[in-house]
């Protein structure tokens, strides 16, 4: 960073910054200010609390992707996510969230249900999502003339519409399946290949009918003729229309958090950052005197800016995330310690004024940069290791590292020049 740039920039910067800080304080403590005078909604931002603090349930599902080509797995999970999302949205829960991740041969689907403390009903309803498949016959490998049904690749994923109909010659109603374009093409090929052979229609792993193909079907319509009552047929059609799973999926685990200790976490965030700031500021001022005061001002701005970022960008705060923030305050001051120690040395060497400040910063910079990068390396790896609440830790720590580059280096430098040079 050039010296001229700083000399010009710092003139107006500080005035501008004071205005900015007032705005940031207003946002950070909006709940407090709102008690005394009414704040418009865009100023009165709230913290976003993770499920571990706010309470709720998380359901984890595993989707079997072993039959899906690796390049199509992501798309399959997207489809699955959409289907489940549509289903979950029917529950009328405030801000449910569905997300997924991929592992070796399967996908994981996570359903977050804020505020739901007994998710049994949700589990049942999601479990009702049908998985429709078409099986084709395969001759047994031994000499017996029996055959097995095996999956054909045509699944409910290609289903456009299902409806109940009565056809002539049958007393029971049938469920008519209407495939989309791609599904119709696959179905046509299947009926060509297995003409005069049975094709099984399989729902949730159970064969519900296995009609013999009488003709090649080109229009993408298939009929399920079970021994349905009208009610059963209607129910099946409704379930199919609400969305069918593109792949088999089973529940793999679930988590319920009462959120009882999340009630006053907002206060704890502010309280803990205040105490951490106070103790570190006391240490810095005792040890580094005037330099300690300047660093403490920068650290205060650091804490304000972090909270500001959490609110503006809606960073989801979890318990681990708050610990990450506390830790980051202790780390943000480290850059100032490196600068102030260097400052002492350069002063001893006889430097003064702007040179002294600029050289201290430039000499300390490589250590500060390298330290921040190593912290970012471990945060990023932690973030991608897991999907649990500890992700919040990696997130707040990374945000802290980036903000400290601004406050502990850029802002402190301007402050020092302002205070010590003129």
């Amino acid at each position: 960073m050039g010296k001229n740039f700083f000399n010009k920039f710092q003139e107006n910067f500080l005035n501008f910054f004071i205005v900015l800080i007032i705005f940031i304080i207003l946002i950070d403590f909006s709940q407090f200010f709102n008690k005394y005078f009414f704040l418009p909604d865009f100023l009165n931002l709230k913290f976003k609390l993770g499920l571990d603090l706010a309470g709720g349930s998380i359901l984890t599902y595993s989707a079997d992707l072993s039959n899906i080509k690796s390049e199509e797995r992501k798309e399959t999970m997207e489809i699955l996510k959409d289907v489940i999302e549509r289903r979950v949205n029917l529950f009328g829960i405030n801000e449910p969230k569905v997300s997924y991740s991929l592992t070796e041969n399967s996908g994981r689907l996570y359903v977050e249900l804020p505020g739901i403390k007994s998710p049994q009903e949700a589990i049942e309803k999601i479990g009702e999502t049908p998985y429709l498949e078409f099986y084709i016959p395969q001759m047994a490998t031994d000499s017996t003339s029996t055959f097995n049904f095996v999956p054909s690749g045509l699944t409910g994923r290609y289903l456009k519409k299902a409806q109940v109909e009565y056809v002539s010659g049958l007393i029971e109603p049938v469920v008519t399946l209407n495939f989309d374009e791609e599904g119709a093409k696959i179905f046509k090929e299947l009926t060509q290949k297995y003409l005069e052979q049975p094709i099984a229609i399989v729902l949730d792993g159970q064969i519900i009918s296995s009609p013999v193909v009488k003709e090649v079907i080109e229009n993408g319509n298939a009929q399920i003729t079970g021994k349905f009552s009208l009610k059963e047929a209607q129910q099946l059609a409704r379930r199919l229309n609400e969305g069918t799973l593109p792949v088999k999926m089973e529940i793999f685990g679930h988590q319920i958090i009462s959120g009882s200790y999340g009630k006053d976490f907002i206060n704890l965030i502010l309280k803990s950052s205040f105490w951490v700031f106070l103790i570190i500021a006391a240490f810095m001022i005792l040890y580094y005197k005037e330099g300690g005061i300047i660093s403490s001002i920068a650290l205060f701005v650091y804490a304000l800016l972090n909270i500001f970022v959490y609110k503006i960008f809606g960073v989801v705060l979890t318990l681990a995330g708050i610990v990450g923030f506390i830790l980051s305050i202790g780390m943000a001051i480290d850059a100032n310690i490196l600068i102030l120690e260097r400052f002492k040395e350069e002063k001893k060497a006889g430097k003064s004024g702007l040179n002294l400040i600029n050289d201290s910063f430039e000499r300390a910079w490589s250590s500060i940069r390298d330290s921040n990068i190593t912290t970012l390396i471990s945060s990023i790896i932690l973030y991608f290791l897991t999907t649990s609440f500890v992700r919040g830790f990696a997130l707040t720590l990374s945000i802290g590292v980036l903000i400290s580059m601004f406050t502990a280096v850029f802002f402190t430098r301007i402050l020092m020049i302002k205070v010590w040079v003129r």
Binding site: H254, A320, V323, L327, I333, D334, D370, I381
Partner: protein, 294 residues
């Protein structure tokens, strides 16, 4: 404080001892198996009044209650083999008839998910150590003659490995449940403990570029560099530990193992960057110095 290189055998011995003790602890003490890594179900619960742990265990054996851990005042963790939500609700209903309690959380994780996370965790920890060392090798790539930047990276790797293993020993000694929080602590302390190492290495590099005789004076240069940077090594760790201590008082109830392991790891990391990482650099060049002398 000025003669660290001369006394390095003492520090090596101390570290090797700590390292071996940690390994013994890790392999004999066995970690508390957490649901995060082994699957199963777990109920975190506050039970008011006196609890007869053995009686509780017997009463609910039919639900697969395997273990009851007291984690704090009236706070318990109950571990089950595996409970579906239906069974979980039945269990709560039955518990209600006998105890006054409040359930804080329920976790049910498939052993398959646990196994996956176990695998990924091992590669994540090794990955962090290797990537940080590679980064140090890269960051110190120029102006460090006669020391190859590869040696800086290698010394970092050894020190990091030392820090992580000894911190794991600490976890085992305290019988913390080895869960995802411990992994957070290990990864973070790896990223942090290298900070002091960077500061000392940076100074060694700078002093080398100022010195004319270089290799003959390497011992003095390293000693001097450590001495010059001692205050900042200690102060940077101290402020971070102060922050964590405050965090411990406010959040320690929920994340005790995470914060304590971090504090311990930062202490070990500061120690190793001063007393282990820098002497290792010297180890690689002392023979060269002999050759020049003779």
């Amino acid at each position: 404080m000025g003669k660290i290189i001369e006394k390095r055998i003492i520090f090596y011995t101390l570290s090797i001892l700590l390292f071996i003790v940690s390994l013994i602890l890790i392999f004999t003490n066995k970690f508390e198996k957490s649901v995060d890594f082994y699957g199963g179900s777990q109920v975190e619960i506050i039970i008011k009044g006196n609890v007869d742990v053995l009686g509780l265990k017997n009463d609910f054996k039919k639900f697969g209650l395997a273990e009851v851990l007291k984690t704090g005042n009236e706070r318990y963790i109950l571990k089950f083999n595996q409970l579906s939500e239906e069974e979980h609700q039945k269990f709560l209903e039955e518990l209600k008839s006998k105890y006054d309690f409040e359930e804080e959380s329920f976790t049910n994780i498939s052993p398959i998910v646990g196994r996956e996370l176990r695998k990924r965790t091992v590669s994540a920890i090794l990955g962090v150590l290797v990537m940080i060392s590679i980064y140090i090798t890269f960051a110190f790539r120029k102006k460090v003659k006669p020391i190859s930047s590869f040696i800086f990276g290698l010394a970092t790797l050894i020190a990091l490995f030392h820090d992580v293993v000894i911190s794991l020993g600490f976890v085992s000694l305290n019988r913390f449940s080895f869960d995802i929080n411990i992994v957070v602590a290990l990864l973070t302390l790896a990223g942090f403990s290298v900070h002091d190492t960077i500061v000392v290495f940076d100074r060694i590099r700078e002093n080398l570029s100022l010195s004319n005789k270089k290799i003959l004076e390497l011992k003095e240069i390293i000693n001097l560099s450590i001495k010059q940077t001692l205050a900042r090594s200690i102060n940077t760790s101290l402020t971070t530990i102060l922050a964590l201590i405050v965090g411990y008082f406010i959040f320690g109830y929920y994340v005790k193992s995470l914060i304590l392991t971090l504090i311990f790891g930062i202490l070990i990391g500061t120690y190793s960057s001063i007393f282990i990482a820098s002497p290792i650099i010297y180890e690689f060049y002392k023979n060269k110095i002999k050759n020049i002398k003779t």
